[in-house]
Symmetry: C2
Subunit: 345 residues, 2 copies
């Protein structure tokens, strides 16, 4: 089969790799219907030079059809359409039972040595029962892009909102207008937020943010962004701030616009954070909660809403390419020509 391999800075290639086969009795094989490129994939893509540790398979978001299952698999069958969360997990360890599937004691990452990744034609899924969620739809269902967002980006936006304690009537500020930030807007409104302030200086992203329910858009960043949100909230700040970027500037902004006693829900991978604003957190009692999103825990409720037509995050995909143009997909996201790229094998 063919799968995407990251060789180094600005160098992703679709290559022939071995077809996946059942290795453990808890495995399933999934033929990929759609996958996509994550903002976090760009961190490795942008690092200059050959990839440290050698070429590696990439992609951690996919939906597909089960083609084979191991002897111990009980909850998915060949022919099932399934959604894969962006990490695999056994579903039975204490951390999974506590809902923190991303800290599964026996789980791991797609593309780790010996494990397939999502941007390919097929994937061996470890712990199929613990990892996959069946979507009761046909493989050609038109909602496939919406279902694919539950693999990561929508679940991650939801995690930001949940971590920040967003609920009915809330006032929320969202730092980050990438696909995750936009999904965080959608998630906040779904959870009942009345006012959602989005930081964005990109017209297209701001427009999608408004479509997703943002009530205010602020073009400033950093300390100026914080000041603008304070102006919009009687000088007090927002009780719920969603940090969806992961840079020092975004954290300065988030901490500066949070109301005393409020909470920052963070999902931005902290690749460019020097130090969290500890003194501000301490002095104003601003809580920080979140991290790598245990989307597996949220999949059932979000899936129900997509199937019922109450939730459609699919507009975050503004470019769809065949898998063999994956390199163009990375370039388009790197150059911010696309918000998020969907790939069809």
């Amino acid at each position: 089969m063919r799968a995407t391999v990251l060789h180094g800075g600005f160098d992703v290639r679709l290559e022939d790799v071995p077809d996946p086969v059942i290795v453990e009795p808890t495995d399933a094989i999934v033929r990929v219907l759609a996958s996509c490129i994550c903002g976090s994939d760009l961190w490795g893509y942008r690092r200059p030079g050959p990839r440290e540790g050698g070429p590696a398979r990439v992609g951690h978001e996919f939906v597909g059809v089960v083609t084979d299952v191991g002897a111990d698999v009980a909850t998915v069958r060949p022919g099932d359409v399934v959604i894969a969360p962006f990490v695999w997990s056994d579903g039975t360890c204490p951390n999974c039972r506590a809902g923190i599937f991303t800290s599964c004691l026996h789980g791991g990452d797609w593309g780790a040595p010996g494990v397939d990744a999502g941007q390919g034609e097929a994937v061996r899924v470890p712990f199929a029962d613990g990892t996959l969620v069946v979507a009761p739809v046909a493989p050609d269902d038109e909602r496939m892009p919406a279902l694919l967002t539950l693999s990561d980006v929508m679940g991650t936006g939801h995690h930001a909102a949940r971590s920040a304690g967003v609920g009915p009537g809330a006032t929320v500020a969202v730092v980050g207008d990438g696909a995750v930030g936009l999904c965080a807007v959608l998630a906040s409104r779904r959870l009942g937020a009345e006012r959602v302030i989005l930081l964005s200086r990109n017209e297209r992203r701001a427009a999608l943010g408004r479509e997703f329910g943002a009530t205010d858009v602020v073009a400033e960043r950093g300390e100026a962004g914080a000041a603008a949100v304070l102006d919009l909230t009687d000088g007090l700040g927002a009780p719920h701030v969603l940090e969806c970027v992961g840079t020092q500037e975004s954290w300065v902004s988030a901490a500066g616009m949070a109301r005393p006693g409020g909470t920052i829900g963070h999902v931005g991978v902290p690749m460019a954070v020097t130090a969290l604003p500890h003194w501000r957190m301490f002095g104003a009692n601003i809580g920080v909660r979140g991290g790598v999103a245990p989307v597996r825990a949220y999949l059932p409720e979000l899936l129900a809403d997509v199937l019922a037509g109450r939730l459609d995050p699919s507009p975050v995909f503004d470019l769809e390419l065949p898998l063999d143009q994956v390199a163009e997909g990375y370039a388009a996201m790197h150059e911010r020509r696309a918000i998020k790229v969907l790939l069809r094998p």
Copy 2:
């Protein structure tokens, strides 16, 4: 009157200062019955050289008797015994109404320019209605040391526990065996914790910790301390960790022993923290909540328990001195000869 003045490193003096008088109609004058020295007072005391900005009044914990009130004061009367929280606050601004009295829009610190401090014979209290809490006891009540702990140390330990979400049946780890850490043990048990693991390598402090309800004592620190707590919690970590120190080592310890999805309640003034362990927080979804404790919010419930005989944090005071020996009190705490020093004018 006499009051304590910090001149610089290892130089505190009891000096003659002007008697306080009513300045604003919302002021009260309080004759101090007892005050004490805080671990945080030592930060300024230990900084070498003359104090930056010149000599300053110090002390932010006191109980006393009201001797005079301004025309607008409604809730305290001359003769009342009162407890002062470690910051003053108007009690009416949006942040106070939200319970974050430490972020009062019109409040401030004891010892700020023009404001008296606690380690003296009397204090002008701004916003007496918003700041002071009346304790219905006589000035010679033997529970005065217990009441004094509600000014800061007990309320701060309670804030750590509340911020970390401690409740009935909880497993809690406490980093820090100072007076605040010991009060955090007491607070955790009061909130229903079943298991409280205290990090301490000091026999006397560990013994008091056990008296306050610690079920386990761990002598290791830093990463070794974290490993020891993991050993005690099936390798998973504690769901509630109370950070009561404020150093890089204590944070490494706290983050390493927190269970995925757990919460660190922090009250250690972060004077010696380089950077919060962001990657650990992110990867394991460890929340961080807390900061400077809004003890004014907790005073009514903690006071009720002290008056009912259900709560007695007074053993944290293991040295009592007359106010004119305040310098010896600072030295005793600096040299860790005393856990916490009570001063009587």
